[in-house]
Structures are given as structure tokens and as C-alpha cells.
């Protein structure tokens, strides 16, 4: 049911750690241990190198595209403790901001919902999470949550923007009162939820279920239901789906998706949140869907019910 339509030869000289499509699927950003970030135009099955961005002094772990209303902006984070924000200006990509406030490798970057402005959350091995907000005129404001996770923070993921209370259109110029939240995962085996209150970030919830380092967290996009959903994965081989039914965000309950035989490194949601992708140490990416009765099933041949997307696996050489 799926086929490879394009193979992009990035010419990175070392391991790739992340690849991300932009909002429209027209550009691809990759980052590598070779310290570079590359951007390709992949429209119509092509692969044209647009930019080869140098600036990091160590392996680059992640890249993240900002919402197009802010222009063409890409963030990258690296072992060199830096977070760099790149911007396309007059057809060329340049460094527009560099944050060096972390004491250790920065492992994860994630842009907030565009409704909040241009805000980047960064998680680092120094245990802190920093929030970089663009305030205009080339200026960025930094808020830091120190000791968010002991030993280190491995992942950050924003909650979708939901306007609390009424859905009536606000008069122009007035910003709706958003409650900003994001989730983080760390080496303390915890998933934490952070909430902004009076301009300060506070730990709202501590989700305990993993028995080893949490490697990734992913907050599911909103499909209009009052429930919130977070996926987390860990070195303990488990993937949990956390759900919270009430709007106040107080009671989260975990459900075990699956126990894998190896470390699970990444979880991510499709844009309509109906499929969760899980990549693990077992060289496979599996895709999961939730059934009506709340059970999670690996989508098979649609015999399970009209799912239609298959599991994807590494191949043996020469196999088709």
C-alpha cells in the first residue's frame, strides 16, 4: 500500500540524525554528524540542494521547521551545546540567531503552535529546557527551566493550541488567552507537562510509568475532542499512550501500546493524529492506530478494518 517515490542522496559525509519535511512537503531538511544542515527542494520527485548550512561544531541532532507565516525558518540543535535558528532572506539561508546558554548537548528542538508567536523549546543533556521567543526586530527573549529533568532532557513536544472557553472570534488586535503547555521526556524516566502561568513556566504534571530513560514524547494534534493525548517511548522498550479527559489537565492515565524488544527511540503522530509511528532499535518502523474500544493495534492489511497503512521495515540487501 506504500511505495518509495523518491530517494534523496543527501551527500552527508556522516550519519544522518534527523530529516524533516516542511509544512507543505516541498522542502526537506536533514542534519548529520558531519555538523551540517542541508536543505533540499523535493518538489515533483526532485532533489535540488538549496542550502548547506555550516555553523555547528558538533553532530547536529535535530531540525525543526517553523510555521510558514514567519517566513522560511529552520531551527537546529547540536552536541556543541548550541541552538541555531536559520532564516531564508532574499533567497539565501543565513544564521539569524544562535543560543549558547546550555552547558551540554542540546537534544531536541520543537516550535510552539504558531498562535503563540515564534517560540522554540529546547531540551538539553544539562537537564534544562530553554524557551526562545522572538520579540521582534531580530531580538529573542530567553526563559530557562533549570533542572527540568535530572541528568538530562531528551525530548520536548508542544500541546496544540486550544483557545479555552468561548470559540467566538476575538476582536481584532486582541490576543486570545491561550494556555501554553508542552511535554518533555528525560533521563529521570519521567514525562513532565509544563504550563505557563503569569509569564513563568511551572511543572504541572509528572507522568511516571517508564523504568528507564524517556527518549521521545509526542503530543497528538487536536481533532476537536476534549481529550489530550501524549505518546512517550523509552529505553525500557515501552511505548505509552497518555490521555487526559478533562480540560483542567489533572488526570492523566497511561495505556501501554506495546512492549518492544529493544529501545524505542522515536514516536510521532500523523497530521490528523490517527496514526502513530514508532521507530525502534529493532530496525523497524511500525504504525499504530486506535480502535473504537481504545485498544491500540498495529495496522495490518486492512483486515483489521480499513486502516490501510502498513508496517515498514529495513530490508535485506538486494531484496525488493
Amino acid at each position: 500500500m506504500v511505495s518509495v517515490i523518491n530517494t534523496v542522496d543527501t551527500s552527508h559525509e556522516d550519519m544522518i540524525h534527523d530529516a524533516q519535511m516542511d509544512y507543505y512537503g516541498t522542502r526537506l531538511a536533514t542534519c548529520s554528524s558531519d555538523r551540517s544542515v542541508k536543505i533540499f527542494d523535493v518538489r515533483n520527485g526532485g532533489q535540488i540542494l538549496i542550502a548547506d548550512l555550516r555553523g555547528h561544531e558538533g553532530p547536529v541532532w535535530q531540525v525543526a521547521w517553523a510555521h510558514p507565516m514567519y517566513g522560511n525558518i529552520l531551527a537546529s540543535c547540536s552536541y556543541d551545546r548550541k541552538v541555531i535558528v536559520w532564516k531564508e532572506e532574499n533567497g539565501t539561508w543565513e544564521k539569524t540567531y544562535e543560543y549558547t546558554g546550555h552547558d551540554s548537548s542540546v537534544n531536541s528542538v520543537c516550535w510552539a503552535p504558531h498562535d503563540y508567536g515564534l517560540i522554540l523549546a529546547c531540551g538539553s543533556s544539562d537537564g534544562a529546557i530553554s524557551l526562545l521567543s522572538y520579540t521582534g526586530d531580530g531580538q529573542w527573549e530567553v526563559k530557562k527551566i533549570s533542572n527540568a529533568h535530572t541528568i538530562g532532557c531528551n525530548a520536548v513536544s508542544w500541546a496544540p493550541a486550544v483557545v479555552p472557553g468561548s470559540l467566538i472570534e476575538q476582536p481584532s488586535g486582541q490576543k486570545p488567552n491561550y494556555i501554553k503547555r508542552f511535554a518533555s521526556g528525560g533521563c529521570d524516566n519521567l514525562v513532565k507537562i509544563w504550563k505557563e502561568e503569569d509569564g513563568q513556566w511551572k511543572e504541572e504534571q509528572k507522568l511516571e510509568a517508564h523504568s528507564d530513560w524517556v527518549r521521545d514524547v509526542a503530543w497528538a494534534p487536536s481533532i476537536g475532542l476534549p481529550t489530550s493525548t501524549i505518546a512517550s517511548c523509552s529505553q525500557d522498550g515501552r511505548v505509552f499512550i497518555w490521555t487526559c479527559d478533562d480540560a483542567s489537565g489533572n488526570s492523566w492515565s497511561p495505556k501501554l501500546l506495546h512492549k518492544f524488544n529493544d529501545v524505542v527511540w522515536h514516536v510521532s503522530w500523523s497530521i490528523t493524529a490517527n496514526i502513530l509511528a514508532v521507530s525502534g532499535g529493532d530496525n523497524k518502523v511500525t504504525l499504530w492506530k486506535e480502535s473504537v474500544d481504545g485498544l491500540w493495534a498495529c495496522i495490518s492489511d486492512v483486515n483489521k478494518g480499513q486502516g490501510g497503512v502498513s508496517a515498514v521495515a529495513e530490508g535485506q540487501q538486494n531484496e525488493q
Binding site: N6, T10, M15, H17, S32, S33, H266, N303
Partner: protein
């Protein structure tokens, strides 16, 4: 609740080496990215490839584009037409809709040469579903329909039938074939029984004993399975065999009896040599009236959602789907339509069809549309306007704002200030409007003229979106008034811009400099009071500067200030005289 099946299908990424690599994964809006990596970040290996993966339906889109386009109209018509009809007329309407879908499939078959086999399979299945479910043909007409169905789809048309018609007792056969409306089922059955017994007698009498060929025909006519099976090679499929069998042994077969004959036909025909193919399983499920099974099997076998989405929708209109405890999603019809429509959004123009499908999904259609419509690349202004119109029609305010902001940013990056400004006004984005107004003003300072005058002149009430924008509008108005030689109005406006603090402080110098020509007109324009105000503004401006700034001011700045002071003083002198004189007289 369906049971969990065994193994998910596996897609193998070509050429990767599992011993040294793991797979990194990312979602794109329509596709999926995979790249080789090592998560524990050890080892050095130039793993430099990224794979872009798509669902096959998205690939099929190009071949089946005509099908998607044409069927869209039928779908919409069906959603809207329902309400007025009831009973028999409703049924015949639904049958007509089904036929329309099928004719679209056939039309595509004629046009396209690549996808013919899958299209003909789709038509075959759909046709059978139409007969059994939509039309719900009763015993009697059922067999006729099935005969037509087989004839239509099997290339090797019923040779048997041809043989029969050209054989010795055509009159007897005529009786059998003569199924007109006046005959009830019972009458037909009786006639057939009678004919059947006659044939039997002929066989037993040995009438055909001399000619083995004719004898075999007679046996076939009597529905002798073995005799029919002997002619297996003339029938291409087991369902051809089934219909033939029924024709000669149970022509008045009832719909619910079909399943038994179907199963045994398939067993006899395939004879245990080969296992049923997907198409066989689907048809079998249809003969067994297991509608949900049909849909499930079709979903697996066909690599596009078009078929199951449209067929299920039609069957739902026939009220044949109970609220089924679907494994994924709340409602089967909606689930399939959501999947189909989502796939359309990966196409540069078919996404517009997708919008209509989402509109007819009451539960999740709107939110799916919101999530997908944001991802449509806004390559041209035209496309952006199209997307906007769709969002505005559905009161999707967030999306409207978001799109306007994106277009404003794009225009700004390409230095199209006018376009950027109108987009940010449409987005009600005060901050951006301020930014662009500043750019306009900056341009004016550098070049001495405004661009996009039309736009600025016609801002109207949207001028109030941001202070800077208001200033821009008013400042331009000042220039207009000056150009029209309405000097006193211009003067009043200019002064007001400063005293009402509409103008930013950084711009005051420019404004005062603009006042110079007014001060040096032959005629006195500024009144005494106004002149005092101007002087105060100038003093505020210079006083406000720090020592450092004053030091940095170059000669031009200093000269400007001096010139202004002089002009203001001269004007004051003239106006005092003028006003004093008037008073005096």
C-alpha cells in the same frame, strides 16, 4: 468486534543494511520520510540517503484522476438528492446512481490503457453489488441480472447458451426463455419443471444416444454438474460456472440461496488446485450477502480508497450498513470517506474535490479539513484566494488568518509592500501591519516618494488596525492635500499628527522638514498659535536628544534645525503682523 489478524504487511526499504542501520522516521504532509541512522549515535558510516514514501493511492491519483473527477459530481448529487424520495422511487434512484458510477468506471477504462484490469475488476464487483444490494433483485429477475453480469464481463461469452439456442428443440427452449412480466414466479417454476421433465425423458429414452455431443448438451440442460464441468475450459471463471449451473438447474434461485451454490461452484471449479484469489474472495462475500466483509476485502485488495469509499456511501444510503462497531473510527462510511478525501489533498488540484467530501462527513470532516487545508502550498495568489474562499465560506477563521499571514510574509520577502500590507489587513494582523507601514515610511524617507499609493489612499477604516498604519494613511493624506494645494488643511493635518502623537517620535524631524515649504509660502499658512505649537514640537525634539546624540548629529542635522528655527521665527513674525493688522482694522 473483529479479531486481530496475524501479521502487518511489511514494506522493505531497498538496499539498506539492517546490521548497521536503524530507520528514522518523519511525517510529511502527504508523504513519509525514512532515513538510515543509528539512534545510539555510535559508529561512523556515511548513511546518506533519505527515502520519500507515499501511499499507493497517492500514486494512483494520476492514473485515476478522471475517475476521481467524474465520480465527485455523482457523489455530491447523491448526498443532496436524498431527502425528497421514498419507497420505490428512491430505490430506482439509487440504482441509477449505481449505474452512473459504473458508467464512469467504464468510461475510464476506454480512456486509459494502464489501469484497465483494476478498473474492470472494480466494475465487476460494483455491478454484482448493485444487483444484490442496491437493486436487491428478487428470485426470477435475479438470475437474469446475473446472466447479464456474466455476459458483460466474461470475454468468452456463454458458448453453452449459443449451443443451446442452436440445438434441436428451440420451441421448448423458447418457453423457458420467455420470462415476461405477466408470469409470476410460480408460473415460471411450473413451466420450467415441465420443460425439465421433458428433457429428462428425452435423455432416458435414449433419444440422443446416437450423438454423444447432443447427449451431453441435454445433460447440461438438465443441470448435470459433471456434464457442465466437462466443459470447464469454455467457462473462464467459477462465477461463470455458477451462473450457468443456476441457469440449468435452479433458474428461480432466491437471493439467500446463492451462497450455497456459490461456495460449491467455486469448490468444484477450482477443484482444490488453486486457492482463491482476492477477487474470488470478494465476490464470494457478496454472494453470501456479507456486506461488511465485501468492503473489508475490497479495502485490502484495491490499493486505492476510491472504490470502497463510494460504494460504502451508496450502500449507506440504501440503509444497508447498521451502525457497525467499526474497529477504527466511529462510522464506516465516514471513516472511508475521510481516508479517501485525505489522499486527495496530496494532489495539486484534486484537493478541491476533497473539500466536498469532508463537508459530508458530519463528525470529523470539519477538523480534517482544517488540518489538511493549511498544508496546501500557496504557490500563487490565485490559489491562496481559492483556499481562502473555501475557509471563509466555512467560517474557518483561524485558517483564514493563518493563510493571510503567510501570504503577507511571502509578499514582504519579495519586497511587494502593497501586497504585504493588504494581506496583513485581511489577516487583521496589527503587528505585521505596523512592520510594513514602517517599511513604507522608511522607503519614503530614502526615496522621497510612496509606492502603492492606490492602496494607501483607499485604506478606509482598516487604517485603524495599527497606529503606525493610521499614521501612514494620514501622512499620505497630508501629501495629497499639499499636492492639491489645500495648504491650510495640510498644515492642520501635519500639526495634528504631532500633537495627537499619531506620528512616532522618530518621524517628527521629517514632518517638521515637510513643514518648511509651507512656512516659506508667499501666503501665510500657519497661524500664530500653530506656529507656537510647531516651535514647541521642535524644542521637544531637540531637548529630547541626549548629549551624546547631539554630539553625533552631523552638520546636516544641525543645519536643518537651524533652518527650521529661522523659518518658524520668520513665519511667526509675519503672522503676528497679519493677525495684528486684521485685529486693528
Amino acid at each position: 468486534m473483529e479479531e486481530l489478524d496475524a501479521e502487518p504487511p511489511v514494506m522493505v526499504v531497498p538496499g539498506a543494511d539492517p546490521s548497521s542501520r536503524q530507520l528514522c522516521f518523519a511525517w510529511g504532509p502527504a508523504e513519509v520520510l525514512l532515513c538510515e541512522t543509528r539512534f545510539d549515535r555510535t559508529g561512523r558510516s556515511p548513511a546518506s540517503r533519505v527515502f520519500v514514501v507515499r501511499k499507493d493511492q497517492d500514486i494512483y491519483i494520476h492514473t485515476l484522476r478522471k475517475l476521481f473527477n467524474e465520480s465527485h459530481g455523482i457523489f455530491i448529487g447523491l448526498q443532496r438528492s436524498e431527502e425528497e424520495l421514498a419507497g420505490k422511487s428512491r430505490k430506482s434512484h439509487l440504482v441509477q446512481v449505481s449505474k452512473n458510477y459504473r458508467s464512469v468506471i467504464r468510461a475510464c477504462m476506454e480512456d486509459m490503457h494502464q489501469a484497465v484490469s483494476i478498473l474492470s475488476a472494480m466494475e465487476l464487483i460494483w455491478n454484482l453489488c448493485e444487483i444484490l444490494f442496491v437493486e436487491a433483485a428478487a428470485a426470477g429477475p435475479l438470475l437474469l441480472r446475473l446472466l447479464d453480469w456474466v455476459r458483460l464481463h466474461v470475454c468468452d461469452v456463454d458458448n453453452m447458451v449459443r449451443e443451446v439456442l442452436s440445438s434441436e428443440d428451440p420451441s421448448k427452449h423458447e418457453l423457458f426463455w420467455n420470462l415476461n412480466n405477466t408470469q409470476t414466479l410460480t408460473e415460471m417454476e411450473l413451466k420450467w419443471q415441465h420443460w425439465h421433465e421433458e428433457c429428462q425423458r428425452y435423455l432416458q429414452d435414449g433419444t440422443f444416444a446416437s450423438n454423444s455431443h447432443t447427449e451431453s448438451i441435454c445433460k447440461i440442460l438438465l443441470g448435470d454438474e459433471d456434464a457442465i464441468l466437462e466443459k470447464k475450459e469454455l467457462m473462464t471463471t467459477w462465477y461463470h460456472f455458477l451462473v450457468t449451473r443456476l441457469l440449468y438447474s435452479h433458474p428461480t434461485v432466491k437471493p439467500m440461496e446463492l451462497r450455497f451454490y456459490a461456495q460449491s461452484s467455486m469448490d468444484l471449479f477450482l477443484g482444490g488446485e488453486c486457492s482463491p484469489e482476492p477477487l474470488d474472495t470478494i465476490l464470494m462475500a457478496a454472494f453470501e450477502f456479507e456486506i461488511h466483509q465485501v468492503i473489508k476485502e475490497c479495502s485490502i485488495a484495491l490499493s486505492n480508497w476510491w472504490f470502497v469509499a463510494h460504494l460504502t456511501d451508496l450502500l449507506d444510503h440504501c440503509k444497508l450498513l447498521q451502525s457497525h462497531n467499526l474497529y477504527f473510527g466511529s462510522n464506516m462510511r465516514e471513516f472511508l470517506l475521510l481516508e479517501y478525501a485525505s489522499g486527495l489533498f496530496s494532489h495539486h488540484s484534486l484537493w478541491q474535490l476533497g473539500v466536498d467530501y469532508f463537508d459530508h462527513c458530519p463528525e470529523y470532516g470539519r477538523v480534517y479539513l482544517e488540518l489538511h487545508i493549511e498544508r496546501i502550498p500557496l504557490n500563487t495568489e490565485q490559489k491562496a484566494l481559492k483556499v481562502l474562499r473555501i475557509c471563509e465560506q466555512r467560517q474557518m477563521h483561524e485558517q483564514v488568518r493563518s493563510i493571510c499571514k503567510i501570504m503577507a510574509m511571502k509578499a514582504l520577502r519579495n519586497n511587494r509592500l502593497g501586497s504585504a500590507l493588504s494581506w496583513s489587513i485581511r489577516a487583521k494582523d496589527a503587528a505585521f501591519a505596523t512592520l510594513i507601514s514602517d517599511r513604507f515610511l522608511k522607503d519614503y524617507c530614502e526615496r522621497g516618494s510612496f509606492s502603492d499609493l492606490d492602496l494607501i489612499d483607499n485604506l478606509g477604516p482598516s487604517m485603524l488596525l495599527s497606529d503606525r498604519l493610521t499614521f501612514l494613511g494620514k501622512y499620505r493624506e497630508f501629501h495629497r492635500l499639499y499636492g492639491e494645494k489645500r495648504f491650510s488643511e495640510a498644515a492642520r493635518l501635519l500639526l495634528m499628527l504631532m500633537t495627537a502623537h499619531i506620528a512616532p517620535c522618530s518621524f517628527w524631524m521629517t514632518l517638521l522638514t515637510d513643514a518648511l515649504p509651507l512656512l516659506e509660502q508667499k501666503e501665510v499658512i500657519f497661524s500664530a498659535e500653530q506656529t507656537y505649537e510647531l516651535m514647541r514640537c521642535l524644542e521637544d525634539l531637540t531637548a529630547g536628544k541626549s548629549e551624546k546624540q547631539k554630539f553625533q548629529d552631523d552638520n546636516v542635522e544641525t543645519m536643518k534645525v537651524e533652518m527650521l528655527r529661522l523659518a518658524l521665527a520668520r513665519n511667526l513674525a509675519r503672522v503676528i503682523v497679519k493677525e495684528g493688522t486684521l485685529e486693528g482694522s
